[in-house]
């Protein structure tokens, strides 16, 4: 079983290799192969999920082999409760994203499928890496296929959006690279000159860094992740990237890529630099809450559906960050499940917008109206996904929001329920912007004659949305299936952090 993670990560890469031998004109075979390999990765990951021991808080399925000897860098992979669900999310969404773009991508289809598979490799690698250097390689490698997906298969203004996406995220990650190298050297001073980027080792070493330097490190890592999330005010690349990206690109971007930011915060920024986390936590939580409300208000007035969903992501991910920085079990577990929820519901929303776009080639809300009448099945699925997004109890979004809000409400680290109370207003605003959009697109009379003969969803389109809807309901009704997997790791993380809380107080008193 030690190779199961490697198998999952590199199955899509095998697909890429296989595609080299396929004639670029044979579109159907190319798409089928792409689907087959991404589905295979999903099937293996289901095994992983079933075999994963939820009661064990530590890394599982670890496989480590020395890679660059001079720097003591290894190929080192493993999953715990925090990364498992994100691996699942990635392998689940990629085939659906491919299926959703089955007919809408016509230009150099082979390259497109290859890029999607490469993207999957990058994302999976990010979630399973237990070596910072390896992590960084995947982190950066994933930028390239995304850059091309936006830049080649995107909308009119795609070049601007692609470059903006690339440079924005690159800026953050370079700072992180500096921090990683610094960490490696710092470790070597304690390790008898042995440079290391091993994450497990660093969990114990990094928190010993004095607060003044920790602050710098926290910000170097944090900024990189904050841009990715994206947290207010680093979010402006997102609407552009989403609007220009093709449907599948948006699905992956919103569904998985943004989670790399929140995952990074939880996996590295918080446990590596606990003292700095305590120090700056109210500010981070403050930005998260601003993001929740600001994202929702700006989403409300967007004339373009895709931009609306993009800004709604800023709001939803604000919830995730708030939950993580509450540093309570409820908040962190809520944050983790909310990452999955956002991937499902926002991924589905982008698929839905793509379905409308495929039919009418516009994303402007004002072009639609009364679509329910001609597309009733579509209307039902759209409604369920919308309700998931606004956090209706019984569906997935509520579980995440509830846990996050209650976790933030009771958090001693945040110190005041004000964050949670302000964030809860985002729940009201979510209902406003989603339902208002839904009303203008789906209800009323059909005023635009072009909308009169739209076809309802095809079997393929149903096959894309139904699996997502199943999980939307599953997580809403019986979240334990998933929460049980993340419980032990979360608990251990919180306990470790708590341990440094007392240490921190001692350090500051000595400092004074």
């Amino acid at each position: 079983m030690e190779h199961i993670l490697t198998a999952i990560v590199f199955t899509p890469l095998l697909g890429v290799l296989a595609l080299f031998f396929i004639n670029r004109e044979n579109a159907n075979l190319i798409k089928t192969l792409g689907m087959a390999f991404s589905l295979l990765a999903f099937v293996i990951s289901v095994f992983l999920f079933l075999k994963f021991d939820g009661t064990n808080p530590n890394m599982q399925f670890v496989f480590k082999i020395l890679w660059i000897e001079s720097l003591n860098i290894s190929y080192n992979v493993g999953v715990d409760g925090i990364s498992l669900l994100l691996v699942m999310l990635t392998t689940f969404l990629t085939p659906l994203a491919l299926l959703s773009s089955w007919n809408s991508i016509n230009k150099s289809i082979r390259n497109y499928v290859m890029m999607m598979l490469l993207l999957e490799v990058g994302m999976l690698g990010v979630f399973v890496s237990l070596d910072l250097f390896l992590f960084y390689v995947f982190w950066e490698a994933m930028l390239i296929p995304m850059y091309f997906i936006i830049g080649i298969w995107g909308g009119e203004n795609r070049i601007y959006a692609a470059i903006k996406f690339f440079i924005y995220t690159m800026f953050g990650s370079l700072l992180m690279l500096v921090a990683i190298i610094w960490l490696g050297y710092y470790a070597s001073t304690l390790n008898g000159g042995k440079f290391t980027t091993d994450v497990i080792e660093l969990f114990n070493i990094a928190p010993t860094i004095p607060l003044a330097i920790q602050t710098w490190m926290f910000f170097a890592f944090g900024l990189s992740f904050a841009i990715k999330v994206p947290m207010f005010p680093f979010h402006t690349w997102l609407p552009d990237a989403h609007v220009e990206a093709p449907t599948a690109g948006s699905v992956i971007l919103a569904g998985v890529l943004l989670k790399m930011g929140t995952y990074g915060l939880l996996r590295f920024a918080i446990p590596f630099f606990p003292q700095a986390t305590f120090e700056y936590l109210p500010y981070v939580a403050g930005l998260a809450v601003i993001g929740i409300i600001y994202g929702a208000l700006v989403a409300m007035v967007q004339p373009d559906i895709k931009k609306l969903v993009a800004y709604s992501s800023v709001s939803h991910l604000g919830f995730v960050v708030l939950g993580l920085f509450a540093l309570t079990e409820e908040g962190v577990q809520g944050g983790i499940i909310q990452m999955v929820n956002h991937g499902l519901s926002t991924g589905a929303l982008f698929i839905i917008v793509g379905m409308l776009y495929d039919r009418r080639h516009t994303r402007l809300i004002s072009e639609y109206g009364g679509i329910s009448k001609v597309m009733p099945v579509f209307a039902t699925m759209f409604m369920i996904v919308s309700l998931s997004s606004i956090g209706l109890p019984g569906l997935n979004g509520f579980i995440g929001e509830f846990l996050i809000l209650i976790g933030a409400f009771k958090s001693d680290y945040l110190g005041t329920p004000a964050f949670s109370i302000l964030a809860a207003t985002g729940v009201i605003l979510a209902a406003v912007y989603i339902l208002w959009m839904f009303k203008r697109v789906m209800y009323g009379k059909i005023t635009n004659p072009e909308n009169e003969h739209l076809k309802d969803v095809s079997k393929r389109e149903i096959a894309v949305l139904v699996p997502i809807i199943i999980f939307i309901v599953w997580i809403g009704v019986y979240p334990s299936t998933f929460l049980n997997k993340s419980a032990a790791s979360t608990k251990q993380l919180i306990e470790k952090i708590e341990h440094y809380k007392s240490g921190n107080q001692a350090a500051t008193t000595v400092g004074k």
Binding site: V298, M300, P393, I399, L403, I428, Y443
Partner: protein
């Protein structure tokens, strides 16, 4: 039998799944309607058996918890999907499934020919499912699921005819308004829930209420919990300041108005306050707020109802007003009496709405009572049952509304809140007046409708529910005949164990019958009779009085006609500024202008700088030579100066 309570909840859900997934393929209205109503009928039957078993079992053995599964288990939170069968929840269950069943049957006829027939029954079933979760939940979170769930169903059903226009917008504007205003209330509920959790470490009713009993009266945390719960209740139960969605909710099909916006969902707030009565008993100041809001809502809504012309609109305001009475009761500590009024109100208000639906049906979707009149002879069953309901809501003995309303008035007076009693009694007079204004303009006098309309009595499937509800409206009050009239107030005694803790805190004993009670009783009957006679006099004999009054006091009439301009005020102070600020200030100015401007500005700046530095490597040997010489000079200069 109580262990089968899960089935009471499950059957409506099965109905929802069958009609929702297969309805479009079944096509037969008969089958869809039978499934839709049948599942509710079964639920009602099971609930009835549970109820009678409860009656025959000893008092201390009437409350049971039935666990279904563990819903959420994270950190210190553990929440079960579990149902609590006790005196309070079983009464609500009977009302929801019983009245709900009659309305489902009625809808078989009412919705005949509608192309969304299956969708309608699926939504109605889903509504019942959610409502049952709300009233049967054994913890706040599951209750919240039902709470938001009924809000969703209300949203779906108000906007059911999504192509139809309604007032200034579409039906969906009304639907959205309902959902969003409710969510504002839900915000209060949510925060209250968080406070409850951190204070008591649980969301389970029994645990929380048991621990709450140890708190002292006037505790600050309890104050906030009670107040925030009440904010939630003002949303769902349409009280000041969140009542504005309910009148617009009439955009939905009439059975929806009857079921959701009159008989059941809107009473959820009353139920919730009653369930959590201990918090209110511990915070006298919140109790006072509840009572005042209730009384004010009662009179405010009644005053608006005086002048409205939409048959459903008048009923909608009367619902808001009656809900006000229920909160007034809760606010003075008469929890059981509030619940009593929930029950009787469910009978007569459902009847009124269904009767109105029958009229609207016959008049081809005409809702303006100024264009009706003389329908008495055309639809006798509807007329007779409607009058019964109108008499009941006006408080004429021995109909059901008399007992419950009179009990509320007496409890208010007995608690010493005589200013509130005056408001409530005034509201009662207005109620009698506008109900008979409505009845007379609709059914009596000479016809004012177009000749091409041929109103006729509704089919049996619609009139039979009317008749059953009429019977209930007459006898429903007998479950609560006060001691003063020789009764035993059965419902109050039945509910006693539920409110035992709260009543102990409030130190409310069983009061002695005093002469004042008879005087007040007589007074309230006189008030109602005068209101009715006054309405008859004006609208049957002297229509000029009404016209003169509205001309003479055109300012007041205008104010009432426009519902005190509350919608307009909300629009101007909250809605429009938020939208404008978000659009102009946050998005276009701040997001695009400042943040993105800074990002793009940085890129431009780098571009400009590199535009200059680029020139250094233009490839001209002369300039390279010049840089070279300049460099040497600078180095030399530095060396010399040092």
């Amino acid at each position: 039998m109580h262990e089968y309570i899960g089935f009471v909840v499950l059957f409506p859900f099965i109905g929802f799944l069958i009609n929702g997934l297969l309805g479009s393929k079944i096509k037969s209205e008969k089958i869809i309607g039978s499934i839709g109503s049948g599942v509710i009928g079964i639920s009602f039957a099971i609930a009835a058996v549970i109820f009678f078993q409860m009656l025959s079992s000893p008092v201390e053995n009437r409350s049971h918890i039935i666990e279904i599964f563990n819903w959420i288990n994270v950190g210190s939170i553990s929440i079960n999907a579990a149902y609590q069968v006790d005196q309070l929840s079983i009464i609500m269950t009977l009302v929801v499934t019983g009245v709900g069943f009659l309305i489902h049957v009625y809808a078989i006829g009412y919705m005949h020919g509608d192309k969304g027939y299956w969708r309608f029954f699926a939504y109605l079933n889903l509504f019942i499912f959610m409502m049952l979760n709300l009233v049967l939940a054994d913890n706040f979170l599951l209750m919240f699921l039902g709470w938001e769930g009924v809000g969703l169903c209300s949203y779906l059903l108000i906007g059911f005819w999504y192509e139809k226009n309604f007032e200034k917008g579409t039906t969906n504007d009304a639907a959205m308004k309902a959902f969003v205003v409710n969510r504002v209330g839900d915000f209060g509920f949510l925060i209250a829930m968080f406070l409850i959790f951190i204070t008591f470490g649980s969301l389970n009713f029994e645990t929380v209420f048991g621990r709450a009993a140890a708190f002292s009266v006037g505790d600050v945390t309890i104050f906030w919990i009670a107040l925030l719960l009440f904010v939630g209740a003002t949303g769902k139960s349409a009280q000041i300041p969140l009542y504005v969605w309910l009148p617009d909710a009439m955009a939905g099909p009439t059975p929806v108005s009857a079921l959701i916006h009159a008989a059941t969902m809107v009473t959820a707030g009353v139920y919730m306050v009653a369930r959590a009565s201990i918090f209110f008993a511990l915070s006298p100041s919140v109790m006072l707020i509840v009572a005042i809001i209730g009384a004010l809502t009662a009179i405010l809504a009644a005053s608006i109802g005086l002048v409205q012309n939409g048959i459903k609109k008048v009923l909608a305001y009367s619902t808001i007003s009656q809900l006000g009475y229920m909160f007034l009761a809760l606010g003075v500590g008469a929890f059981a009496t509030g619940l009593f009024h929930v029950v009787t109100h469910a009978f007569f208000k459902a009847l009124l709405f269904l009767g109105a639906g029958s009229v609207i049906h016959a008049m081809h979707n005409e809702e303006d009572i100024q264009k009706m009149g003389g329908l008495k002879s055309k639809m006798p069953t509807t007329y007779k049952t409607f009058v019964i309901a109108a008499l009941a809501i006006s408080g004429i003995p021995p109909l059901s509304g008399f007992f419950s309303k009179d009990e509320i008035l007496w409890k208010v007076f007995d608690a010493g809140y005589w200013p509130l009693w005056i408001l409530a009694a005034g509201g009662a007079a207005l109620t009698a007046f506008y109900m008979f204004r409505l009845t007379i303009l609709t059914f009596e006098g000479s016809p004012r409708w177009d000749k091409d309309k041929h109103p006729h009595e509704a089919p049996k499937v619609m009139t039979i529910p009317l008749i059953i509800l009429a019977v209930l409206s007459v006898v429903g009050g007998f479950i609560g005949i006060p001691a003063a009239l020789g009764g035993s107030n059965a419902i109050e005694h039945f509910l006693d164990p539920i409110f035992e803790r709260s009543n102990r805190i409030l130190a409310l004993g069983h009061h002695e019958v005093v002469p004042t009670e008879y005087i007040l009783m007589l007074l309230s009957v006189v008030i109602a009779v005068v209101g009715i006679l006054f309405a008859r006099h004006i609208y049957l004999k002297r229509k000029d009085i009404a016209e003169n009054l509205s001309k003479k006091y055109s300012g007041i009439h205008n104010l009432l006609w426009n519902k005190y301009f509350v919608d307009e005020i909300y629009d101007a102070t909250i809605l429009t500024p938020t939208l404008k600020a978000s659009d102009k200030l946050l998005w276009k100015f701040f997001d695009v202008g400042i943040i993105d401007g800074a990002v793009n500005g940085t890129a431009k700046l780098i571009n400009i700088i590199s535009g200059y530095t680029r020139r250094m490597q233009a490839g001209f040997t002369q300039s390279y030579a010049a840089y070279f010489v300049a460099g040497i000079i600078i180095i030399l200069a530095i060396l010399i100066i040092r």
